[in-house]
């Protein structure tokens, strides 16, 4: 799709950005893809470039939940949490904005070139740098302020003490945005960033996407669009499959434990898990099996049909 330049006078200009203060908003933006739409239903998801699998999972869940509730997911197209958030939003059929720290025609990071093209098709690429600008290190804190400026709130998933996510969170606070942080174990060095923001009351602790909605519009009941998103295509689950799926969590569980707790022979558990894995409902980790997003969705749909 055509790249274009927009300035404050243009209809496409996100007025939200002006809230960054008199001097800090960019004067023009280079944009590619769908018309840029950002506002009260735009949430940034940011975090480490080298996340743990728990961080990846959290980012996926949150971005997917946001997209399903028709929220826009904005991030910085970096590897790690950024890429996970963009992808999850796209996979959930949502709209996503990627803010770059270089020119639109510069493929950085190279690993995300395919994702970048995808966003140019179904989402929007944004940068304040003219074509050909290489990705300088000092562009990234600048880029982060645009991410914060475009969003009504920033979700910080994982990051160390001095991470870019923390800078984005700081800038979001300066721009009067809500900051949300996903807490983590005190043994996880990448949880230091989010945990510290929570400890100092700069961020609201969230463990579920619904906490974001509640914070932004307290008292409002957010309808889960999950069922419509699935298009009613419920996943048929046989009894052992549902039992095993119900037992799983987002931390890996060993086959022996599933077997012992469900009183199901190890062989049957193993076969059931293989069947579920082949359908993309669980994933295998060195220490056991964990449920995937589709698995969790299938499980709740199954539960819903059982109940009705």
């Amino acid at each position: 799709m055509m790249a274009r330049t927009i300035s404050r006078a243009d209809g496409e200009w996100p007025h939200h950005l002006n809230e960054l203060g008199p001097e800090r908003p960019p004067t023009e933006l280079f944009v590619q893809g769908r018309p840029l739409e950002a506002g009260s239903q735009t949430i940034a998801v940011v975090g480490s470039r080298h996340p743990t699998s728990a961080g990846v999972d959290a980012a996926k869940r949150i971005a997917c939940g946001l997209a399903e509730a028709n929220f826009t997911v904005v991030s910085g197209l970096a590897v790690g949490i950024d890429a996970v958030a963009h992808k999850a939003a796209i996979e959930a059929g949502g709209y996503t904005i990627a803010v770059l720290g270089c020119g639109l025609d510069v493929d950085y990071p190279a690993r995300n070139t395919t994702l970048k093209r995808q966003i140019a098709n179904v989402g929007t690429l944004v940068t304040e740098h003219p074509p050909g600008t290489p990705p300088h290190a000092n562009h990234f804190p600048q880029r982060n302020r645009i991410i914060a400026g475009l969003a009504a709130g920033v979700v910080y998933v994982e990051g160390g003490e001095r991470s870019g996510g923390r800078i984005t969170a700081r800038q979001a606070l300066d721009a009067n945005r809500s900051v949300f942080a996903v807490p983590g174990s005190i043994r996880n060095p990448l949880a230091v960033g989010p945990n510290e923001l929570i400890r100092t009351s700069q961020a609201v602790l969230i463990t579920d996407v619904r906490h974001i909605f509640e914070e932004l519009a307290p008292g409002l009941v957010w309808k889960q669009s999950g069922a419509t998103h699935m298009g009613g295509s419920s996943i048929p689950l046989e009894d052992p499959e549902y039992r095993v799926l119900s037992f799983l969590d987002d931390a890996p569980v060993a086959v022996d434990r599933i077997s012992a707790d469900l009183a199901m022979p190890v062989g049957e558990v193993t076969l059931t898990l293989s069947r579920l894995e082949v359908r993309g409902l669980v994933t295998r980790r060195p220490s056991g099996y964990e449920i995937t997003i589709s698995g969790a969705r299938g499980r709740s749909l199954h539960r819903a049909t059982e109940d009705s």
């Binding site: 996340p51 699998s53 890429a83 992808k87 994702l115 894995e277 082949v278």
Partner: protein, 129 residues
């Protein structure tokens, strides 16, 4: 690691389990089952030492005839788990062996499922692209 056919996860045993009476099948009966499976394979490939693991690729297709359900499952596995050619080959050989141990003629869905559960773990954590 790439050439290892099977891998299974084990959890640490508790001291009660370690000190307690061993249960499960005794090695003797397992040995008999393995010998039976071995002779099926020797007969199939026409050589005393031939096994499903060592059989030439060309014989595999005939030897590992899959039921329709088994074939569907393997097809799904190739898609969802991004199995490579070698990976699929390995699943076939292990599934054939599982069926042989059960004395079964054809390879069924459950045999493929079991073979899949023995496959190599991803060595790299699944991280963003």
């Amino acid at each position: 690691m790439d050439r290892i056919d099977m891998q299974i996860g084990m959890t640490r045993l508790t001291k009660e389990e370690l000190l307690g009476v061993p249960d499960g099948e005794c090695s003797h009966s397992i040995r008999r089952r393995v010998q039976a499976a071995r002779s099926i394979q020797a007969e199939r490939y026409g050589s005393e030492r031939a096994t499903n693991a060592s059989a030439p690729h060309s014989m595999l297709k005939v030897a590992c005839r899959l039921s329709t359900a088994a074939e569907d499952m393997l097809g799904n596995a190739v898609d969802v788990l991004s199995l490579t050619g070698r990976g699929m080959d390995r699943i076939l050989r292990v599934a054939r062996t599982v069926a042989d141990l059960g004395g079964a003629e054809s390879v069924e869905e459950d045999d493929v499922a079991e073979a899949l559960s023995f496959r190599m773990y991803a060595t790299r954590e699944e991280v963003a692209a």
